[in-house]
């Protein structure tokens, strides 16, 4: 009786899991293996039957090509330029927001609003702000008698410009997560510290920051993965240019796969990108765990 019942329960459970499982199977798990397979071919996009098995030569071509290394440099420039700054700025603003005042809710909304807006729409706004001849940013520089810069039109400033946009767009998310993290820190600890005569900085450094580690880790991982996969702002603001200066690995993948139709080569790049993302995530988790305990 009970055996039958557990069997029925198990059957029902599998039935309930099946919709999600089928979707993941069809569009995540099997494709993840499929991309490995495609990477072994000189894949003919127009006529799949004309694809040729080439073993690992897509990978060797990829590792030998300077464009891969340029794109990895661009990727790390973007990650290092946007993630740490984004995290510390967000933490700073979150700390400023921790003691309530009238209008706090509104201010919080103002910081958070960019995060909910679609990237294409808001990057068009920034494209206009960045416009080297007619944009507001250069008008301000001109007004301040500072040298004007090319923003997204200059190989030197294009990446900082995209980083600036990205910081603006994701800051709200980080602020809210930090605020959530800060509210979980028991205030008695801070008071004890203060009774001991600790300064605000000492209190932050010895009490708040260590207790905030899980939050910081979470934000770091989410931001890093997001930055490694960022595409839309590059597509709208720079198209990977000028002179390839903003062709990150994700953008290169799009370009090779869907502009040049080098499908097999791009699949190899996808596998490499996956390895990088997975490795970075694991390293970050490992590092912070050893710090936390």
């Amino acid at each position: 009786m009970t055996g039958k019942r557990t069997r029925l329960e198990a059957f029902q459970a599998y039935l309930y899991l099946s919709p999600s499982a089928l979707i993941f199977l069809a569009f995540t798990l099997l494709p993840a293996f499929y991309v490995l397979y495609i990477g072994l071919f000189n894949w003919n996009f127009l006529n799949t039957s004309m694809s040729k098995f080439v073993g690992f030569s897509n990978y060797t071509a990829l590792l030998k090509s300077p464009e891969l290394w340029h794109s990895l440099i661009a990727t790390f420039y973007f990650v290092l330029g946007s993630v740490p700054v984004g995290i510390f700025a967000a933490l700073f603003i979150a700390l400023l927001l921790m003691r309530p005042f009238r209008g706090l809710g509104l201010v919080r909304l103002m910081f958070f609003a960019p995060y909910v807006t679609p990237v294409v729409s808001t990057s068009i706004v920034w494209l206009w702000l960045f416009n080297p001849q007619f944009g507001l940013f250069n008008a301000i520089l001109h007004f301040l008698h500072l040298p004007q810069i090319g923003w997204v039109q200059s190989a030197r400033w294009a990446m900082p410009s995209v980083i600036l946009y990205t910081l603006w767009h994701t800051m709200g998310f980080n602020i809210i997560i930090f605020m959530a993290g800060l509210t979980t820190i028991p205030s008695e600890l801070g008071e004890v510290a203060r009774i001991d005569g600790a300064s605000a900085w000492q209190e932050f450094w010895h009490v708040t920051w260590p207790l905030l580690t899980p939050t910081t880790l979470f934000v770091t991982v989410i931001n890093t993965i997001g930055a490694l996969q960022a595409f839309t702002q590059f597509f709208t603001l720079t198209n990977g240019g000028p002179a390839g200066s903003t062709t990150t690995a994700s953008f290169l993948l799009f370009q090779q796969a869907f502009v040049f139709y080098h499908t097999g080569y791009a699949a190899a790049l996808a596998v490499l990108l996956f390895i990088i993302i997975a490795a970075l995530t694991l390293v970050q988790m490992r590092v912070s765990r050893s710090e936390a305990y």
Partner: protein
């Protein structure tokens, strides 16, 4: 192939299970009308195109209804796409899905790609057939345009549709103030552009968008035009050739103008914006962008148009716009009907009408007398039509679009990163050559 099939079967199974378990309203696939026609009755042909707005759309609709009234058994349905990038994706995807339209607009290098995979058909047998072109008619096509329809294999794969080339737009009031006339040579151009440059007035000569390999832009096409006027080639004897002495000469012109502040870089058709805002003296765009330039200028000053200046070897220009090709996975009746339709579009009456409505150029010499009144009131059209004899399209080689994109990178690197001219061109040429090799 075994794993492939297994994975696909598994995924297909999973997806089929999903499709069965979900009945979401309105999630059907729109059937492609191109493949549903049968051989007996009326024939439907589908046309993948980008003439989706303004007079381009109304003129095409008009020509189609004219054609259909002459050929009551043929129906033409349009498959409109917003721009060429999307059109190409759509055509590529449709070919890959073995469900192509009957005909589609194609650039020369797309056609080369399609021809290589057997996705489009050569038209020589139709041209020579009883419903084809007489030698006299062939001679009536603008020679550079007729030549543009052939791929390096010597076969004719396309018929011309919406062709244009580059012209020079300029602010005539400002030109007068500077005591200058429309430049005849690139040296004159450089002098005028530098004369227009003033920090105090915040004005300069020209703004270009060099583009990227993902999306080559007008700055690159201008560069190619100048290269040709200096006697250089993009591609010669089966190899990339733009890193020649003429290439260096061309790049030097851009570099000197940029260093003098007379040339600036932008994106999203920056030349039109800057000319319209009375900041720059010139804009170099195709004749087809005339309505956009006109909108940007908005009657603030006297806009004039001239042919591109000439270089040390004469005039040079790049032919823009597309041709039409017939896809191979269509019925014989559809191919025959498609041939009749694309031939109809090239006839003098129709091309004259098309040119007057849209600003694209007439592709037949005998169309010019038919549109005399129009050319008198739109002199710029005559200028652009005359320039066609110097205009060559991008060489029809797979991967050429990507290859050309590296010129844009070279322009940016020389201008903004102080990379030596020869070095930047050599590097771009080697990347371009690689792009051609990997597209073969």
């Amino acid at each position: 192939m075994k794993i492939n099939r297994k994975l696909k079967t598994l995924s297909a199974f999973a997806a089929a299970a999903l499709a069965l378990s979900l009945t979401v309203a309105g999630c059907g696939t729109a059937p492609n009308p191109g493949t549903t026609a049968n051989s007996g009755g009326p024939v439907t042909i589908s046309f993948a195109e980008t003439m989706v707005s303004g007079t381009q759309k109304s003129a095409l609709d008009h020509l189609i209804s004219q054609f259909e009234s002459k050929h009551s058994n043929i129906k033409v349905t349009l498959m409109p796409e917003p721009n060429y990038g999307v059109l190409q994706q759509k055509e590529v995807a449709a070919v890959a899905a073995k469900n192509p339209p009957t005909i589609g607009q194609v650039y020369e290098d797309w056609a080369a790609d399609f021809a290589k995979s057997g996705a489009i058909i050569p038209l020589d047998s139709y041209i020579k057939g009883k419903d084809g072109f007489s030698p006299k008619e062939i001679a009536d096509f603008v020679p550079t345009i007729w030549k543009d329809q052939q791929l390096p294999d010597g076969k004719t794969w396309m018929l011309p549709f919406n062709k244009s080339d580059f012209v020079m737009y300029y602010n005539a009031d400002k030109m007068k103030q500077l005591n200058k006339t429309a430049p005849q040579t690139w040296n004159d151009f450089a002098t005028a552009a530098q004369a227009a440059t003033s920090g105090a007035n915040n004005s300069w000569g020209l703004t270009i968008d060099p583009g990227t390999p993902t999306a080559p832009a007008n700055g690159t096409y201008l560069w190619i035009s100048v290269l040709r006027s200096n006697g250089g080639h993009l591609y010669a004897n089966g190899k990339i050739a733009f890193n020649s002495a003429q290439g260096v000469q061309t790049m030097q012109l851009f570099k000197d103008l940029y260093s003098a502040g007379a040339l600036k870089l932008g994106s999203n058709y920056p030349g039109e914006t800057a000319l319209g805002a009375q900041r720059s003296l010139f804009d170099m765009s195709t004749v087809a962008s005339y309505p956009y330039v006109l909108h940007a200028v908005n009657k603030k000053f006297n806009l004039k148009i001239a042919a591109l200046p000439s270089g040390s070897a004469g005039q040079g220009n790049i032919m823009q716009g597309t041709n039409i090709a017939i896809f191979s996975r269509t019925t014989a009746a559809q191919k025959q009907a498609a041939w009749q339709f694309i031939k109809f579009l090239t006839e003098p009456q129709q091309t004259a009408y098309w040119a007057q409505q849209t600003g694209y150029l007439p592709i037949r010499t005998s169309a010019l007398p038919l549109m005399k009144a129009y050319l008198d009131s739109h002199p710029y059209q005559k200028i652009a039509a005359d320039s066609l004899q110097y205009a060559k399209a991008q060489p029809p080689v797979p991967g050429m679009q990507q290859a050309v994109g590296y010129i844009g990178d070279a322009i940016t690197r020389v201008l903004t990163q102080k990379v030596p001219v020869q070095q930047a061109l050599d590097q771009a040429a080697s990347k371009a050559q690689q792009a051609l090799a990997s597209a073969q």
